[in-house]
């Protein structure tokens, strides 16, 4: 993966930059020793590594502003970092960049049940937001798989989703406001406790901008009352087409499950061997979850079971209690870990129109044979967000490259059938060079112009999202 050549002038003035940053931060908040900066050399896309010039861990919005002001004056690139769980390389540093970590910004600032909102510092973990309100029966809806570790700052940067967004939406639908520091150190407040923007929807623009427009230090998030209960049903089919048709029929029948998860045979086998969840050995498996009171759940699952039976399932298993429900989810939740037991894997994140599912799975199967690499598919079937897991051996020369080429072909296929490169993980460096498959030069230029407004000198996370060639002139300016 190509990254920009580090600026020799920035590398040469490392001591001065560290000294200036140390003057505005506590001593332990500036990490510049070469052995210690290695802790920030990558995120969860571990195939790519590069220690930064230094890392800073500010403890307040004011400190973030002071850091950015200095970096702006010194013309040093800044890479914002939440918890470093990005699968797309969103927090990958360059050797001439300062990593700005928000890990110390983890306080809850306000809980307001009457207005259904919570205000937190952006380094707080996703699960830590729900943790602050769940005793009182509330939760924060977006639930990325990494929710135990991932920070709200990263969720906002990538507009993270999760398994339950068919009903509750993704981050942008649950974000009410941010405190954000611009690259020149200006602090701005966008949104707040109210529900709509006074003018242009800058909040909607900031969410999903991958840390390229500003550094979010505080967020106002919508919280919801927990449903009375939730229960899944497991449905197995002997073909992907039938499973896809079942999903479509459930949706057409007017039932809106909170989650519809799909696993294909390679994935079912791997998770079964690993987690022993008792899944049937079949071609395609659906987990459908609904919410409400017991009676409401019974009624909805009744409709779903009726539809499922019409398609002649191999298995139809309703959870009778919490233990059975947990067993149904067990395999799905350990799918990534199970695949990881077999080999190294790369997790993709394209989205497709649900109607293209059988075609796309068939093509992925064919490509898998051509590339000689196994692939398992886990899929948020309600919203078309696929997670093909390509298995490869990192120690085998050429395997990673083959895997990446296979992945790129799958993502291009997603675009070809009317979908997109990434549904919830973000572009980062991983899909940067594929952007031309989805967007015209004019589409991309419109996005670059947005960054020009927020960060005219292109110092914030500059080597991400867009093909390097398309941003070269701007970054060098």
């Amino acid at each position: 993966m190509e990254m920009p050549v580090p600026s020799p002038s920035v590398l040469a003035k490392k001591a001065r930059i560290v000294q200036r940053l140390s003057a505005v931060l506590p001593a332990d908040a500036v990490i510049h020793d070469v052995t210690e900066t290695r802790a920030y050399e990558c995120d969860a896309l571990t195939a790519y590594k590069c220690p930064p010039l230094c890392a800073v861990l500010p403890g307040s919005t004011e400190e973030v502003a002071a850091v950015l002001k200095i970096c702006h004056e010194e013309h040093v690139p800044v890479v914002p970092r939440g918890s470093g769980t990005s699968l797309a390389g969103g927090a990958l540093p360059t050797a001439d960049s300062v990593i700005l970590g928000v890990a110390r910004l983890n306080e809850v600032l306000e809980v307001d049940y009457d207005n259904r909102l919570i205000r937190v510092q952006s380094g707080r973990t996703n699960l830590g937001v729900t943790g602050a309100v769940e005793e009182d029966g509330f939760f924060y809806a977006p639930d990325p798989s990494s929710q135990l570790a991932c920070a709200i700052a990263g969720n906002i940067a990538m507009n993270s989703g999760g398994a339950h967004c068919l009903k509750y939406g993704v981050t942008t639908n649950n974000l009410l406001g941010v405190t954000m520091v611009l690259m020149d150190g200006t602090v701005v407040e966008i949104g707040g406790g109210h529900l709509d923007a006074p003018g242009l929807d800058l909040l909607g623009l900031v969410c999903g901008s991958e840390g390229q427009l500003g550094v979010v230090t505080e967020a106002t998030l919508r919280i919801l009352r927990k449903p009375e209960g939730a229960r899944p049903v497991l449905i197995g089919y002997d073909s992907n087409e039938t499973a896809g048709q079942c999903v479509s029929d459930i949706i057409k029948a007017g039932v809106l499950p909170v989650a519809i998860e799909f696993m294909d045979r390679p994935c079912i086998r791997a998770t079964e061997a690993f987690a022993h969840a008792g899944y049937p050995d079949c071609e395609a498996l659906l987990i459908v979850e609904v919410e409400g009171s017991d009676a409401e759940i019974d009624a909805q699952l009744g409709v779903i079971a009726q539809i499922a039976r019409k398609h002649d399932p191999v298995e139809l298993r309703e959870a009778q209690d919490a233990d059975q429900a947990a067993r149904i989810w067990l395999g799905r939740k350990s799918a990534f870990g199970a695949m990881g037991q077999i080999n190294d894997y790369m997790c993709l994140d394209g989205t497709i129109p649900v109607s293209s599912l059988p075609h796309v799975l068939r093509r992925i199967g064919e490509m898998s044979k051509d590339y000689g690499l196994d692939v398992g598919n886990v899929f948020h079937a309600g919203d078309g967000n696929m997670h093909p897991l390509i298995l490869f051996d990192a120690n085998k020369p050429g395997d990673l490259e083959r895997c990446e080429a296979f992945g790129a072909d799958i993502l291009k296929l997603c675009v070809e059938v009317g979908g997109c490169l990434t549904g919830e993980h973000g572009v980062g460096i991983e899909k940067r060079d594929l952007m031309g498959a989805q967007f015209t030069a004019a589409d991309l230029e419109a996005q670059l112009r947005v960054k020009d407004v927020f960060d005219p000198e292109w110092l914030l996370n500059p080597a991400k999202v867009f093909p390097l060639a398309s941003t070269e002139g701007r970054r060098a300016a």
């Binding site: 942008t172 707040g192 929807d201 909607g204 999903g208």
Partner: protein
């Protein structure tokens, strides 16, 4: 007047424009600083391009009449989740609202509290920028974080960043039935507390409004629930118990009455025949009554659990100075042309944000020809 029939013709029209353009869809929402440019209508850029009920997605050209879209969705038992307001009643306008106009003004209704605003269901746009260049963002799938979310930026930009040519939506199933719970006689503060209690329950409230002067002139608080029959009756009973302390609660399930009741709120019908300016105040729900009082309004109507206050105000008066202590913002929705020329319709932003908004407008419309000055 220009009436492009394709996106290519639209691009040509914008590129070749000699001066300011006034962009219209159905022309039913004349909000913002009055425009005097040449009219560019997208009404002939019309028609559903794709609708997949099984995937809950729909794509339409911007000039497609809203009626046509709602009818197509209803035929499959689905609907637009955000319940867009029809401005014709309040503003006394005619014509057929278009889906592009709904997006350009980010028009939502009472269900916004549960299902989000127009921008939350919008998953893709195609538009022509001020240079005459066609641009797309998003697409036809409901989970998409590829590149910046210009979809949100275009929603509610009132034609000032680009002229929409195509819009894509996530749609939702239409529930079997709806019920409205009515509580009579509550003062504003108690009403908002009752709505808050309902909205913090697990019973999935999809409408929460309060009329200090209901149809008989006395206060009426309204709570809506939707779903299948057994679920609606269960939740109605639970909510009655939960809210018992606020007074007698009646439950209405007649579809015509329920529909009319929420149309009245959605379209701010009570202010339609009343003289005066109409403002839309957006605040934290618990600040609603305080904002209503501070605004000096002759009459108010609360939606969104108190977070949206419709205020009927003496003509020509700027209410913003009186609201300066309350976080949120106010939009002037209905007023005479001279008032709309004198008072900015949209709340002026703090300097750094105003600079960003102005910068974005310069980038998307460098010649300043798209509804210039409409948003301030």
């Amino acid at each position: 007047m220009m009436n492009p029939r394709t996106e290519a013709e639209l691009a040509e029209a914008v590129a070749g424009a000699a001066g300011p353009l006034r962009i219209v869809g159905g022309g039913t929402r004349p909000v913002g600083r009055p425009q005097s440019g040449e009219v560019l209508s997208v009404a002939e850029l019309s028609g559903l391009e794709l609708y997949e009920p099984g995937a809950l997605t729909m794509v339409a050209r911007a000039g497609t009449p809203l009626d046509e879209i709602e009818a197509a969705l209803a035929a499959e038992g689905q609907r637009l989740p955000f319940e867009p307001m029809d401005h014709r009643t309040l503003l006394g306008t005619r014509g057929a609202p278009t889906i592009g106009g709904v997006v350009a003004a980010n028009v939502s209704g009472p269900r916004r509290i549960q299902a989000g605003a127009c921008r939350d269901s919008l998953i893709g746009v195609r538009f022509v920028d001020g240079r005459g260049v066609p641009i797309k963002s998003g697409g036809r799938v409901m989970k998409n974080v590829t590149g910046y979310d210009l979809v949100k930026l275009l929603a509610g930009s009132h034609g000032t960043l680009g002229v929409l040519s195509e819009v894509s939506f996530k749609v939702l199933p239409r529930p079997d039935m709806a019920a409205v719970l009515r509580i009579a006689g509550l003062p504003d503060g108690d009403a908002v507390r009752a709505l808050s209690l309902a909205l913090t329950s697990p019973f999935e409230v999809s409408g929460a409004a309060h009329m200090p002067e209901g149809s008989d002139g006395t206060p009426m608080t309204l709570i809506r629930i939707e779903g299948f029959e057994a679920s609606v009756s269960y939740r109605a009973a639970e909510l009655r118990t939960l809210l018992a302390a606020f007074g007698d609660i009646t439950v209405e399930t007649d579809p015509e009455h329920v529909g009319a009741c929420w149309r009245r709120i959605r379209d701010v019908e009570p202010f339609a025949e009343q003289a005066g300016d109409v403002w839309r105040i957006s605040v934290k729900p618990s600040d609603g009554p305080r904002a209503a009082a501070a605004s000096g309004a002759r009459r108010v109507l609360y939606d969104w659990g108190g977070g949206l206050v419709w205020a009927l105000v003496d003509a020509g008066r700027d209410i913003r100075p009186a609201l300066s202590e309350i976080p949120g913002h106010a939009t002037l929705v209905r007023a005479a042309e001279e008032t709309r020329a004198a008072i900015p319709a949209f709340q002026p932003e703090p300097a750094p944000l105003a600079a960003i908004s102005a910068g974005l407008r310069r980038q998307f419309d460098p010649r300043g020809i798209l509804n210039p000055g409409l948003m301030g």
